[in-house]
């Protein structure tokens, strides 16, 4: 068999198999990983009285675009782990084309707060207004790991962040402050 035939057949097999995998990863939308469809989000928004919308939502910022940048602002995440019981407030900023979350404040289980050092913990690389992907920094047994994560907006004041790092995973609920 000619070498060129070998090359073309092999490339064909590679492209076919890799293409299928990418198609099923990015081309097929499964509903089980999107807890709240966009339509429900808008219903929730409509039902919520205007007065109940948190005042700290950064609408005052002229650069804020409510259609595309609903993540900007302060978000609180409650933790109840062996290492940490309490909550962390993160500040999400839009930097270039990505959203970065920085630690802003630590709150212990008794409600005492302490200013955080502003460590970048989460980078949301893709966000379509309701779902997105990013890289989350987690600490496990003293080691820092950068893991792929997914976020899904439940309503305009809540989103879930989920990750699964070789079986070590979690789903966190981020509430707007």
């Amino acid at each position: 068999m000619k070498n060129s035939t070998l090359v073309f057949r092999s490339l064909g097999i590679l492209i076919f198999l890799a293409g299928l995998a990418h198609l099923f990863s990015f081309g097929v939308d499964t509903s089980d990983d999107s807890p709240t469809p966009t339509t429900e989000t808008s219903t929730a928004t409509e039902q919520q009285p205007e007065a109940e919308v948190p005042t700290e939502k950064p609408t005052a910022n002229s650069a804020y675009n409510p259609e595309t940048d609903p993540l900007i602002g302060q978000w609180k995440v409650a933790y109840n782990t062996k290492d940490f019981k309490g909550a962390i407030v993160y500040k999400i900023k839009k930097e270039g084309k990505v959203f970065n979350a920085y630690t802003h404040q630590y709150q212990d289980e008794n409600g005492y707060a302490q200013k955080a050092e502003g460590t970048k913990t989460l980078t949301i690389t893709q966000f379509n207004g309701s779902k997105g992907k990013g890289i989350y920094s987690i600490e496990y047994e003293g080691e820092q790991y950068e893991v792929d994560c997914k976020i899904a907006l439940t309503d305009e004041n809540t989103f879930t962040l989920s990750y699964d790092y070789y079986g070590y995973g979690d789903v966190e609920t981020w509430k707007r402050q």
């Binding site: 068999m1 092999s10 890799a18 099923f24 990863s25 097929v28 990983d33 699964d164």
Partner: protein, 293 residues
């Protein structure tokens, strides 16, 4: 069907299934099958000292290979694979049935090319000849490895990582292909039904691969699917009775001799070749290549 294939999987479940196939198969299929083979050898009055010592040598070579594999594997996975995965790969793929199946098929295809390369370049054959040097054919032969056998799989699986597959999934898929290969090293199973023989690599096809009969040289490189050989022109069916081993037998069951004979023969060959560039060429040229003097 599409929803099933695209359904997101949990790492714990994937690990669990690979653990059953890759790790536990040694206990529920490979060892019992080898015992069955020993009983068959005894029944056929072929169970002699040479066969027993040969089998022990096989397992000892696996120990040497495994040590090198562990060191290289840890280095490759933690450093090279993840560097490639994080810096020069396509968008990272989700963990779903489709990506797991595609990854296993790609690992199988990579195995075909890696295996073919091991046969067709000097340094590859210097290490892989160990696997082929046994005059017997049973499950213990599957564990007969050469000292550098762990290197090629790393090189050939890197493109799969570059395609966006998770390095751990790639590693698990490679081991899965190896475990499937192990099951093919037997004389007990004859030819299977035609559709299976057409699509899958079978003991019959793999006996051919281990044949020292001239028409069987460099044939049937497949891991799981024999269709790769059919598509790429290296398929040969089992017709003539297979004579196992290599064209220059080592006639030894000493594990050290078995493990290093390919490398020592290659070093001897390099000593006979004149000129630095020719010596370098001997690494990548076919095993029987010698420069024109």
């Amino acid at each position: 069907m599409i929803d099933f294939l695209a359904k997101k999987l949990e790492w714990l479940d994937v690990h669990h299934w690979f653990y059953i196939f890759n790790d536990l198969s040694l206990f529920y299929i490979i060892i019992p099958f080898f015992v069955l083979e020993l009983i068959r050898y005894a029944y056929l009055k072929r169970l002699d000292k040479d066969l027993v010592l040969d089998s022990i040598a096989n397992v000892i070579t696996f120990g040497g290979f495994f040590l090198i594999e562990i060191i290289l594997g840890i280095l490759a996975i933690t450093k090279v694979y993840y560097w490639v995965y994080n810096n020069i790969s396509l968008p990272h793929l989700e963990l779903n049935w489709a990506t797991v199946i595609c990854c296993v098929l790609l690992a199988d295809f990579a195995y075909y090319w890696e295996h073919r390369t091991m046969h067709r370049i000097g340094i590859g054959w210097a290490t892989h000849t160990v696997h082929h040097s046994s005059p017997h054919f049973n499950m213990s032969v599957a564990y007969r490895f050469g000292p550098l056998d762990a290197i090629m799989p790393i090189v050939f699986s890197l493109p799969i990582v570059m395609l966006g597959f998770d390095p751990i999934l790639v590693l698990l898929s490679e081991v899965f292909v190896q475990v499937f290969q192990t099951l093919l090293h037997t004389e007990i199973i004859g030819k299977l039904t035609k559709p299976i023989e057409f699509i899958f690599n079978t003991p019959s096809h793999h006996r051919v691969h281990h044949g020292s009969n001239r028409q069987y040289w460099d044939k049937n490189y497949a891991g799981i699917l024999i269709i790769w050989d059919r598509m790429l022109g290296t398929f040969e069916p089992e017709k003539e009775k297979v004579i196992y081993g290599i064209s220059q037998p080592i006639n030894s069951v000493n594990p050290i001799v078995v493990f290093f004979h390919g490398i020592s023969r290659f070093v001897k060959k390099l000593g006979q070749i004149k000129g630095f560039s020719n010596k370098l060429l001997a690494f990548v040229k076919p095993p029987d290549w010698m420069p024109k003097q």
